[in-house]
C-alpha cells in the first residue's frame, strides 16, 4: 500500500482508455442508437399518417357510395316515369289507330251503301219506266218524259 509509480501508470492508462473509447467506441454506437431512434420516430409518424389516410379513404368510400345510391335512385325513378310514359303513349297511339280504322271502315260502309242506293235507284227508274210502259202500253217518249222520270227518280 505504498504510493509508487503505479499511480503514474494508472494515470497514463486512464488517459489512453478514455482516448480509445472516445475514438473507437462511443461515436459509432451513439450514432447507431440515434439513427434507430430516428427510424422508430419516422415509423410511428408514417403509421399515424397511414391511419389518417385510411380514415379519409373510408370517408370517401362512404360518400361515394351514398352519392352513387342517390344517383341510382334518380335513374330508376326516371326510368319508371319513362316506362309509364311509353305505355301511355302506346295506349294513345293504339286508341288513335283504332279510331282511324273505325272511321275508315265506316266511310267504306257509307260508300258501299250509297253506291248500292245509286245502283238501286237507277234500276228502279228503269223498272218504273218498264212498268209504266207496260201500264200505258205505249212507249213513252224518252225525251218528252225525261224530266218527269228524273223527278220521280229523285224522289226515290
Amino acid at each position: 500500500m505504498n504510493l509508487n509509480a503505479t499511480f503514474i501508470g494508472q494515470m497514463v492508462a486512464f488517459v489512453i482508455f478514455i482516448y480509445l473509447t472516445h475514438r473507437f467506441v462511443w461515436p459509432p454506437i451513439v450514432a447507431a442508437m440515434a439513427e434507430r431512434t430516428k427510424r422508430i420516430a419516422d415509423g410511428l409518424q408514417a403509421a399515424d399518417k397511414a391511419e389518417k389516410d385510411l380514415e379519409l379513404a373510408k370517408q370517401k368510400v362512404v360518400e361515394q357510395l351514398t352519392s352513387a345510391k342517390k344517383e341510382a335512385a334518380i335513374i330508376i325513378d326516371q326510368a319508371n316515369k319513362r316506362a309509364i310514359e311509353i305505355v301511355e303513349e302506346a295506349k294513345e297511339k293504339a286508341r288513335l289507330e283504332g279510331d282511324r280504322l273505325k272511321a275508315s271502315a265506316q266511310a267504306e260502309i257509307e260508300q258501299a251503301t250509297s253506291r248500292a242506293r245509286e245502283e238501286l235507284r237507277s234500276k228502279v227508274v228503269t223498272l218504273a219506266l218498264a212498268g209504266a210502259e207496260k201500264i200505258l202500253e205505249s212507249s213513252i217518249d224518252q225525251n218528252a218524259h225525261n224530266e218527269l222520270v228524273n223527278k220521280l227518280a229523285a224522289e226515290l
Partner: protein, 301 residues
C-alpha cells in the same frame, strides 16, 4: 485447496498481511531490480516501483472493457440489436442520460470518459467477487514453478483496493478540472473563484482583506475533490476486501464456523454487488459533476 497445510504455515495475521501486500517490482535494497520479498522491502523501494498485480489487472480489465465495447462498435447496427449490443447499448444509454442530465455543455470527451470510468471501475470492483484465494493460489503455483519463495508471491487482484489506482484516476480528473476551469473561465476568472468567494465586498480594501480568508476556505475544497474521489473508492473496496479476508479466515476454524462463514460470505457478496455498482456509479457521477462545475462560468454565491 490446502487450508490445513496453510494453517500450519500461516497465522491469521500473516494470512491477512499476505493478502494486503502488493506484488511490487522495483529496486531491491541490494541494488538489483526485482520483486519485493515482503511489505517492508516494498516500502523501501520508494516511488519508482510498480505494483505489478494491481497495475496488471487494471490494464487487463481496461483492455477487456475496450475489446468488448469495440467488438460491438465494429458491427453495430441500427436494426434490431442482439445480445452483446443490447448490453453495451444499455450501458452507453445509461451513461449518456447521466451525462446529459448533469452536464449541459458541449464537450465530446465527457461521455466517453464517463463510460470508461463506469465500466472500468465496475470491472475492477467486480474482481472482489472472485473467490479470494483462487487467483493468488494460481499465482503462487506459477510463481513457485518459476522458482520464487511461496511466501513472497503476493497477489492482489482487486485494482480498486490499491490507492495508487484510484488516486491515479482521481488525479486525471483533477487535471481535467483545472484544465476546463482555466479554458472556460480564463486564468483570471479561475483565480477569482478562490479569492472573491465566499466573502466579497465592493470596497477594494475590505476585499483585499478577504482574499486570504477566501483562499483558506476555497483551496482545500478544490484539493479535496480528487482526494475524496480517489479515497472513497479505495476505502469502500478495501473495507469490502478485508471483510472477505476475515470470512475466509473463519473457514479454517472448524466445521461449525466454516458453515457460518459460507452463509456470511454469500450474504456479504450479495451486499457487495451493490457496493461494486454503487462505487462505480458514484465515481462516474462525481466526475461529471466536477466537469460541469468547472464549466459553470456565472457562478454566484
Amino acid at each position: 485447496m490446502s487450508s490445513a497445510e496453510h494453517a500450519e504455515v500461516l497465522t491469521s495475521s500473516e494470512y491477512i498481511k499476505h493478502h494486503l501486500t502488493n506484488l511490487t517490482y522495483g529496486k531491491l535494497p541490494d541494488g538489483t531490480w526485482g520483486f519485493a520479498h515482503n511489505s517492508d522491502e516494498a516500502a523501501q523501494m520508494g516511488f519508482w516501483a510498480v505494483n505489478v498485480d494491481t497495475m496488471g489487472w487494471s490494464l487487463f480489465l481496461g483492455a477487456l472493457f475496450f475489446f468488448i465495447f469495440r467488438s460491438v462498435a465494429k458491427k453495430v447496427t441500427s436494426d434490431v440489436p442482439t445480445g452483446a449490443q443490447n448490453a453495451v447499448e444499455f450501458a452507453i444509454e445509461f451513461v449518456d442520460s447521466n451525462v446529459k442530465s448533469m452536464f449541459p455543455y458541449k464537450n465530446k470527451m465527457i461521455g466517453p470518459m464517463a463510460l470508461t470510468i463506469f465500466v472500468w471501475v465496475f470491472f475492477m470492483n467486480a474482481m472482489d467477487l472472485i473467490a479470494i484465494d483462487l487467483l493468488p493460489e494460481i499465482a503462487k503455483l506459477v510463481g513457485v514453478s518459476l522458482g520464487a519463495d511461496p511466501h513472497a508471491v503476493f497477489f492482489k487482484v482487486v485494482p480498486s483496493t490499491d490507492p495508487n489506482i484510484t488516486l491515479g484516476m482521481a488525479s486525471c480528473v483533477f487535471i481535467l478540472i483545472l484544465w476546463y476551469s482555466i479554458t472556460q473561465k480564463g486564468v483570471i476568472g479561475f483565480i477569482k473563484e478562490f479569492t472573491l468567494h465566499p466573502f466579497s465586498s465592493s470596497n477594494p480594501i475590505v476585499q483585499t482583506l478577504f482574499i486570504p480568508v477566501n483562499l483558506v476556505l476555497e483551496l482545500p475544497g478544490l484539493f479535496a475533490k480528487p482526494v475524496s474521489l480517489g479515497l472513497r473508492l479505495f476505502g469502500n473496496l478495501y473495507a469490502g476486501e478485508i471483510i472477505f479476508i476475515l470470512i475466509a479466515i473463519l473457514y479454517g476454524a472448524g466445521y461449525l464456523f466454516a458453515g457460518v462463514a459460507g452463509l456470511i460470505q454469500i450474504v456479504w457478496a450479495l451486499f457487495h454487488i451493490l457496493i461494486i455498482y454503487l462505487q462505480a456509479l458514484i465515481f462516474m457521477v462525481l466526475t461529471i459533476v466536477y466537469m460541469s462545475l468547472s464549466y459553470q462560468t456565472d457562478e454566484q454565491h
